[in-house]
């Protein structure tokens, strides 16, 4: 019994001594992180020479550090595609961004600070020059059309049928009008084109062609396009004009482009100029070169046709959106447009 008691005492003393002398896991990690002082490092190395257990523990941590390094290297190895780089560099080179560059230039900043008193007379001169240019007639005193004479006013639109299959057109209140008699799109009135019909709408110097059973409406500065295909050609000024679709908003910046609203995606194709697109998700993209982009029902962009999803899609912006049983042909275009 006495021997057993002595043996246990010896065992506990030894294990306590080991616990006191052996570096704990924090110290071992500090050792590998090179966070120990020179003296602590020497003590630790001395101990490691004599303690196989601690060498084993250190080996385990070394393996973990290697695995951590490999994991991080693999995560960091993603490279941008040429298109992604091009997209970033193009957006950086937009005129608005360039001004920020120039503002950063020390010399210019210094100049602006020293000669800011010149700004007021300079502004007066510039405004006077612009005013004279706009109000005066041409150099030979011949009345010239003023550059801003034609205001972009959606209310002042003129409709011309291009393909008239002789069918009827639906408007708010389920009115049915012959396409040949439809000469103007009233504001805040939902319109659904019949099958195979194509119309041309002129607004000031701009125009748009609509087909593919397009469902749309105009308000003061806004066009809503819930379905179908719109080919738009704009000539400035058209500031504030925006096109809303179920999955994205398009702000044209002087340009020729088309929007195609399909069941599971929207295709926006730029032919000329520049457009800014804001997806439903809030992500923005600027198209400044001819090309196309697809927007999925979540408002996210892709270069390929997005796969159909089971969640809400553009099809539900067709008449089904308010009444899921209603087939396309029986729905009111107003209800479709009110849904987004």
């Amino acid at each position: 019994m006495k021997n057993l008691s002595q043996g246990l005492t010896w065992f506990f003393q030894k294990s306590n001594a080991m616990k006191i002398n052996c570096p704990d896991s924090v110290e071992l990690q500090d050792y590998l992180d090179h966070n120990l002082s020179l003296e602590q490092r020497k003590d630790c190395e001395q101990h490691l020479k004599n303690c196989a257990d601690c060498r084993q523990r250190l080996e385990t941590f070394t393996q973990l550090y290697q695995a951590g390094g490999d994991y991080a290297a693999q995560q960091l190895s993603v490279k941008p595609s040429p298109r992604q780089i091009e997209s970033i560099m193009n957006r950086i080179k937009l005129p608005g961004k360039k001004t920020q560059d120039s503002a950063k230039n020390d010399l210019i900043s210094q100049f602006l600070a020293n000669f800011k008193w010149l700004f007021a007379p300079a502004f007066v001169l510039i405004f006077t020059a612009i005013f004279l240019l706009l109000t005066k007639s041409g150099p030979e005193n011949i009345p010239q059309p003023r550059p801003f004479a034609k205001q972009f006013d959606l209310q002042a639109n003129v409709v011309e049928p291009i393909f008239d299959p002789g069918t009827i057109l639906k408007t708010s209140g389920d009115q049915q009008i012959k396409l040949s008699e439809f000469s103007r799109v009233p504001l805040n009135c939902a319109v659904q084109l019949p099958k195979d019909a194509m119309i041309l709408i002129r607004i000031a110097d701009s125009q748009m062609k609509l087909n593919d059973e397009a469902v749309f409406s105009f308000s003061e500065k806004e066009m809503k396009l819930a379905a179908g295909h719109a080919m738009i050609e704009l000539n400035p000024p058209h500031s504030g004009f925006i096109i809303k679709t179920p999955f994205a908003e398009v702000t044209p910046l002087g340009t020729r482009f088309s929007i195609e609203v399909k069941k599971h995606f929207i295709k926006i194709e730029l032919e000329e100029g520049q457009i800014a697109i804001t997806g439903k998700s809030g992500i923005k993209r600027i198209l400044s070169k001819p090309g196309h982009v697809f927007v999925n029902p979540d408002g996210q962009f892709s270069n390929r046709i997005p796969q159909a999803q089971s969640n809400p899609t553009a099809s539900e912006y067709r008449p089904e959106i308010h009444n899921h049983q209603a087939p396309i042909d029986n729905g009111s275009p107003q209800r479709i447009l009110d849904s987004f």
């Binding site: 695995a67 994991y71 992604q84 950086i92 560059d101 996210q300 962009f301």
Partner: protein, 194 residues
């Protein structure tokens, strides 16, 4: 090329960009795309959104380049923008960042004993299930050798917290190399919400 000459080359690119040569920004995009992409990927799962947000990060970095102080490293500054952008996206989308262990992590032990996975695969798998911030700490510390202070700056947390978290997680994961088994989740490694 030594670390110092790399830093000098980087500073020169930033200086050139600030002086109006925007094309000097392109090598920085190429160099740090992986860093920005991997940080955002920890918060956002959709790859296309990650790529879009990564682009946004570089545009923000470009527009705020004047605020960058060249006496500090560029990568922590850029990483912070990436973290903020990802969190802003999650807030906008009203999605919560991952602040706890993935419930799947608890299933680590449900693997049949005969199912042998390589230790490295096991390690990667367990690490992928840690909170987003924890994975970022691992990447910044083990991949780029960020100091605790730099990581603290990126994640807006005290340096002591970063160190403590990293040590606890390493202790936790070392079981993979000791026993070749997946460790059980521990309550003390739950990341506190900022």
């Amino acid at each position: 090329m030594s670390n110092d000459s790399l830093k000098n080359a980087e500073r020169q690119l930033i200086h050139n960009t600030l002086s109006g040569d925007s094309s000097s920004f392109q090598p920085l995009v190429e160099k740090y795309w992986g860093l920005v992409f991997s940080i955002i990927k920890k918060y956002v799962k959709d790859q296309e959104t990650v790529a879009d947000l990564s682009q946004e990060v570089f545009l923000i970095a470009y527009s705020r380049l004047q605020q960058y102080r060249p006496e500090f490293n560029f990568s922590p500054w850029l990483s912070k923008i990436a973290v903020n952008k990802a969190l802003e996206y999650l807030r906008r989308e009203k999605r919560s960042p991952v602040v706890d262990f993935d419930p799947d992590f608890a299933e680590c032990h449900r693997f049949a004993p005969e199912q042998i996975l390589k230790q490295r695969e096991l390690f990667d798998e367990c690490l992928e299930k840690l909170p987003a911030e924890m994975q970022i700490i691992f990447i910044l510390r083990h991949g780029l050798e960020f100091s605790y202070e730099d990581i603290a700056h990126v994640l807006d947390l005290p340096a002591g917290t970063i160190k403590g978290l990293l040590f606890r997680v390493r202790n936790h994961l070392k079981k993979i190399f000791e026993q070749g088994e997946k460790p059980q989740p521990r309550a003390d490694m739950v990341f506190s919400e900022k």
